[in-house]
Structures are given as C-alpha cells and as structure tokens.
C-alpha cells in the first residue's frame, strides 16, 4: 500500500490530481477542461465516429474491395507522392522564408509576413482556379514553361504546385517562433570557437530547428493528403495519372455510395493520424532529452 501512496504523491507533484480541488492553485480547471472536452467531442470525435460507423456497416471484404480498387490505389500513389514532394519543397522554401522573416530587416517585411497566411485565408477553390489559369499553356507562367517543355497544368506536377501553395504556412508558422527564440549567444559561441557559417548552421541552428521543421513538414504533408479544392482545378483528373484520393471520395459521393466514400476517407484519416501521432511521440522524446525533463 505504501508504495502505491508514494507513487501517487510523486504524480501529484507534477500534475494536478483530478478530484483533489483543495491543492490546485489555478482556478477553473474543471470548467475549462469540461468545455474543451465537449467541443473536441462535438467537432472532432463525433464526426469521426460517424465515419467509422458508416464504414462498419460494410463487411471487411466489401471494405477491402473498395479501398484496393486499382483506380483508387493509383490515386493513393499520386496523392502520397505529390504530398511528399510538396511538403519537402515547403520544408526547404518555408525554412528559407521563415529565416528571412526572422533574421533580416527590409522594407515590406510586415507585408510579406502577412501574405504568408494568404493560403489559409483564401478559399482553396479560388487558389485552384488562379493556379490553373497561371500555369495553363497560354497563362503567364505556362507560356514560358511550355517553351522549356515543362507542363504543369493538368499534370501531376500541377497537383504538387497546388498542394505546396495551400500548405506553405504550416512550415513557416511552426519554424518562425523557434527561430525567433534561438539565443544569439549560441551562434556567437560557435563562431568564437572557430566554426564556419556552414558549420554553425549545420551543427547549432539546424538541430534546434529540426523538431519544429519536421512538425511543419508533417502538417503540410497531412494537409496535402486531403487537399481537394485547389487540386481538382489544376490536376486534369485523368484516371490512374492525376486523380487524387479526395477526388475519389467525391466521385463515390456523387454516386451516392456513402459507405465506399467513407471507406476511402478512413484510409486517409488513418495515415494522417498515425503520422501525426508518431511525430508527436518522437518529438516528445527528443525534447525530453535536450530539455532534461
């Protein structure tokens, strides 16, 4: 018994113990947690449960048949590959953008900082139409690119462009605060020890940014997996070549096959959840190590 009590005591030092009101300093724990849980349930969990319910109406064979349909499998490949390419591009470009926004002073900095959020604010369909127009063969970008023999609109490359556009803010906004909080002394210490600029970046700055960058890229990737509005206008939507999974869901919906739509959606959901969960776990371990918690 006594060991159980000791364990309990250790836990209560770190976390407010539920049901022991007298020891808590911050008021409102019960109320705020209650409201948060209610909203998470109503807005996140309930719809997801609905999805699972819909799927569970199918037998496993039916489910497997729907999600392994060759056209759907091809769309997984296109989606995953494009999302990966887009999120990697964003990883590099977003890091650069965050770096410029944090490290340098220049006219128009505030404006660029605000413009970064535009993909979040803009309806994705609008973005899709604009991108399709720009990259079409007679569009502003498209006419030059076609001379180089590069086709973007209505090809898988177009999907990457659309995905990169809509998910760029994820990387910038996760990396930016971490970059802002980096102590200048760390870099000064490294330089005073004789390190070159490249080495300072590689061994001092990048390891500090790495967890945030990975989170940003993962968010960008999962967002891209489900992107619909921006993609369908520019993708061309050719079966087996440039159809994304969210389009397949849409097609099933139009056929009033809700169960099949839910089945495909559940695949995306599962992949996203597993990825986010894995990254959160990894990050917690990494931070635990360097922060000594």
């Amino acid at each position: 018994m006594s060991t159980a009590n000791q364990a309990g005591a250790v836990v209560s030092q770190r976390w407010p113990r539920i049901g022991n009101r007298s020891k808590r300093v911050l008021p409102g724990f019960g109320l705020s947690l209650g409201i948060s849980l209610l909203f998470i349930s109503l807005i996140l969990m309930l719809p997801l449960t609905g999805l699972v319910m819909e799927v569970s109406a199918m037998s496993f064979d039916q489910f497997w048949f729907v999600i392994t349909d060759p056209r759907v499998v091809a769309s997984y490949k296109v989606t995953a590959f494009s999302a990966l390419a887009a999120s990697l591009f964003n990883g590099i470009f977003g890091l650069l953008l965050a770096w410029v926004l944090v490290r340098y002073e220049f006219p128009g900095k505030r404006l660029i900082d605000a413009v970064v959020d535009l993909p979040f604010a803009l309806p994705t369909a609008v973005a899709g139409i604009v991108l399709a127009t720009l990259f079409a063969e007679n569009g502003w970008y498209g006419q030059w690119l076609s001379k180089l023999g590069i086709e973007v609109a209505f090809t898988p490359v177009g999907i990457i462009v659309a995905m990169a556009f809509t998910s760029l803010p994820f990387v910038v906004r996760t990396v930016q605060p971490v970059l802002e909080e980096l102590a200048p002394e760390d870099e000064e210490a490294a330089v005073s020890l004789g390190a070159s600029d490249g080495l300072v970046f590689r061994r001092v700055i990048f390891p500090a940014l790495w967890p945030a960058l990975l989170t940003g890229v993962a968010l960008s990737f999962t967002r891209s997996l489900g992107e619909f509005g921006a993609v369908i206008f520019i993708a061309g939507n050719m079966p087996y070549v440039s159809e994304v999974t969210s389009l397949m869901i849409f097609v099933r919906l139009q056929e009033y096959d809700y169960a099949a739509a839910s089945a495909i959606a559940s695949v995306i959901l599962l992949v996203s959840l597993v990825m986010l969960f894995a990254i959160t776990l990894w990050q917690a371990r990494y931070l635990k190590r360097i922060e000594g918690r």
Binding site: E185, D186, E188, A189, S192, L193, V204, P207, R289
Partner: protein, 378 residues
C-alpha cells in the same frame, strides 16, 4: 599575448557606448572590467573578441592589428554569462566543438580529440557527466563546461562576460577561486567583465573601472582601493561615508558637525570621503572631530560588525543619509552598541575632494593628536 585597445568609439543609435577608449592589457594577467550597467564594459569585451565591431579605433594582439579579423580567426576563448552551451549536444560534444570545427588539415584525429576532451573533463572535475545534456547540469557545472569548451583549442586569450553573474553566492565563490587557479596554471591573458566590485578586487591582477563609456581608472586592486582618482571610483568601489561642508580656518563644518583638517589652505566647499574602516566610534567627541550619529542598525553577520548610523544635527551626502562603520567583534562585545545609542565618529584617514574634477587629497589625523584619555573611552 598583450591586448592593446586604441581610441575605440562605439555608438548604438544615439547612445555613445564607448567614448575614445584606449587600454593596455598586460600579458598573462587577469584583468577585470568593472563598471555599472551601461558603462560599456561588455561592449568593449565584445569588440576585443570581434563579436562587435567598433565605429573607429584599433584592437591589436601582441602588436598585430586584429581590428578587421573575424572572431573565428582571432583564436580567443569566450565565456558567456548564460553559458550558451549547445543544448542538443552532450557535455563531451560541447567541449569537443572547437576541435571538431578546426579545418581538416589542423584537426586532430578522433582519438586525440577524445583524449583532450577527457583531460578537460578531468580538469573541470566532471568526467562522470560526459554524456549528460546541458539541461541536466546545475548552473555552476554548466559554466565549468563552458569554460572547458572555450579553452579546448588552447587560445592565448580568454574573455569572460559576467561569468558568475547567473550563479548563487556560494557557487560563485567556489568558481571564482577555481578560475583564479586555472588562470595561474595556464597563463592566459584574461579579461572578465563584472559589475561586482568585490569580485573584481578579489580576483584580478588589474582593474579597469569604467563609467558611461569612459575608462575612469586603471590600477592594481589594492592601489585602486586605497587611492581612487575620482568620486565615481570612490563611490563604486564600496560603501563610503561623506561629509560635505564649508572649510574655514582649517575646519570643515556642516550643521553641528565639524572636523579639523590639518594644514589645509583651501577655503570653501569640500567633500570628505571616509571608508567604513577608516572611522572609529567613540562615546564622546575628540579634539579633532565632532560627528554625532545615532545608531540605526547593527549587523553581526560577517567577519566584521557593521553599524549603520544616522547623522544627528547634520546631514550626510547621498540618498539614504546613512553612515556605515565597521568594528571588530571584540570591540562590539566590549561596547555593546545598540540601536538608539549616540556615538561620535572619529576619522583616522580621509580623502578630501576640493575642486570639481580634482584628485582627492589623503588626510591623516596624527595619532599624537588624539589624547590618550579619549582613546581610553573605547
């Protein structure tokens, strides 16, 4: 390596951080840059390191101009107030960083680096913590690791920016002693920045007192303490009791207080500065001084008993209007001064400022002047 600083100016916007500063730092000595915050001491250190560039002026190491040389090529060790350890690296990796960063041709082999890190870990007495991360260390341990890291590449110059500023009193004292030993062993030319006069006087071979971007005075600690050049240095180097008043016929008077000053020809306003240990307390006025004070507080902590007194019928200069006198514990046990008692301060040595920017004149009240009868009262 000697360090020469020649006519350094530095401005941050409208703020003149350094105003035409010139300095010579002797080889192998431990020099303290001492001053209040905003005096420019840290800026000067950073300019010597090359972390900041001066608007004008030159820095040279052993006669070689390094003003334009990048910090990474100056081969200095720099220690930061908040350690600046790389938190994603272990203690051993932190210490090895300077060696790892050497260009391939100069870089020692992996085994040699490991050996050197091992030696440094022994030196800072933390070999058992080699694989810990900085977050798992105490403040004192972190600063020792930072020191080991900064000297891993054997720099000739060691620069420390308030190295003990973030540590608590006990650790600070230990680390101070340890730094002094380290310095004596390796004979760096070291400069450390501090705002703590006690630390500067205790630890260094030479103290540079700075104020508002200027060098006020440079001297050895004992000389500096005994003979400050200016009111600022006097004030800054510790508690001081001030009697300011008018001199007429060799007598300095203010309200009910007076002190005779032997051999003074000056007439007019002067200030008499007295350190707490240059004053005795008597129960009656003496022939050469009448400085009545009432005891406000007695502090028994430390090697000396500190008595705080408030002037009675006159005023001390300074915001708190308090005089401080140090007496020995033996004296305390004899006299038992308590709050509310009246005492008379008896100056033994004083420092007289007459003009505005003049150096002080040291005044000695000859022992013979004090009649034996009055001395017995103590």
């Amino acid at each position: 390596m000697t360090i020469t600083v020649d006519g350094i100016n530095k401005r941050f916007g409208k703020f003149q951080a350094l105003n035409n500063v010139s300095l010579d730092i002797p080889e192998g000595k431990l020099t303290a840059l001492l001053g209040p915050s905003g005096s420019g001491k840290t800026t000067l250190l950073r300019i010597i390191a090359g972390l900041e560039s001066a608007d004008s002026g030159r820095v040279s190491f052993s006669g070689k101009d390094v003003t334009k040389l990048h910090v990474r090529d100056r081969n200095i060790g720099f220690v930061f107030q908040h350690y600046a350890l790389f938190r994603h690296m272990t203690v051993a990796q932190n210490i090895a960083f300077g060696l790892d960063s050497l260009p391939r041709k100069q870089r020692p082999s992996k085994a040699e680096i490991q050996k050197r890190v091992g030696e440094l870990l022994e030196m800072i007495q933390l070999p058992h913590l080699a694989n810990r991360f900085p977050a798992q260390l105490s403040g004192g341990q972190k600063q020792r690791v930072a020191l080991a890291r900064s000297i891993a590449t054997r720099p000739k110059i060691l620069l420390l920016d308030e190295p003990f500023g973030a540590l608590d009193a006990k650790v600070r004292k230990d680390l101070r002693r340890w730094l002094r030993n380290l310095h004596d062993e390796f004979h760096f030319t070291s400069i450390f920045v501090t705002h703590d006069q006690e630390e500067a006087l205790e630890l260094s071979d030479q103290v540079v007192v700075m104020s508002q971007g200027n060098v006020e005075q440079v001297n050895e600690p004992t000389e500096l303490y005994a003979r400050p050049d200016s009111r600022f240095v006097f004030d800054f180097l510790g508690q001081v009791n001030v009697l300011s008043g008018e001199v007429k016929h060799s007598r300095l008077t203010q309200g009910s207080a007076w002190v005779t000053i032997p051999g003074i020809e000056h007439q007019g306003n002067v200030q008499l500065y007295l350190r707490p240990h240059e004053v005795r307390l008597a129960t009656a006025p003496v022939a050469h001084a009448n400085l009545p004070l009432r005891i406000e507080a007695v502090s028994l902590i430390g090697s000396e008993v500190r008595v705080e007194l408030r002037p009675e019928g006159w005023e001390s200069e300074g915001s708190d209007n308090i005089w401080e006198v140090g007496i020995s514990h033996a004296e305390f046990n004899q006299q038992r001064p308590t709050r509310g008692d009246l005492r008379y301060a008896v100056p033994e040595v004083g420092h007289l400022f007459t003009g505005k920017d003049t150096q002080p004149v040291t005044v000695n009240w000859d022992e013979a002047d004090l009649s034996p009868r009055i001395r017995l009262i103590n």
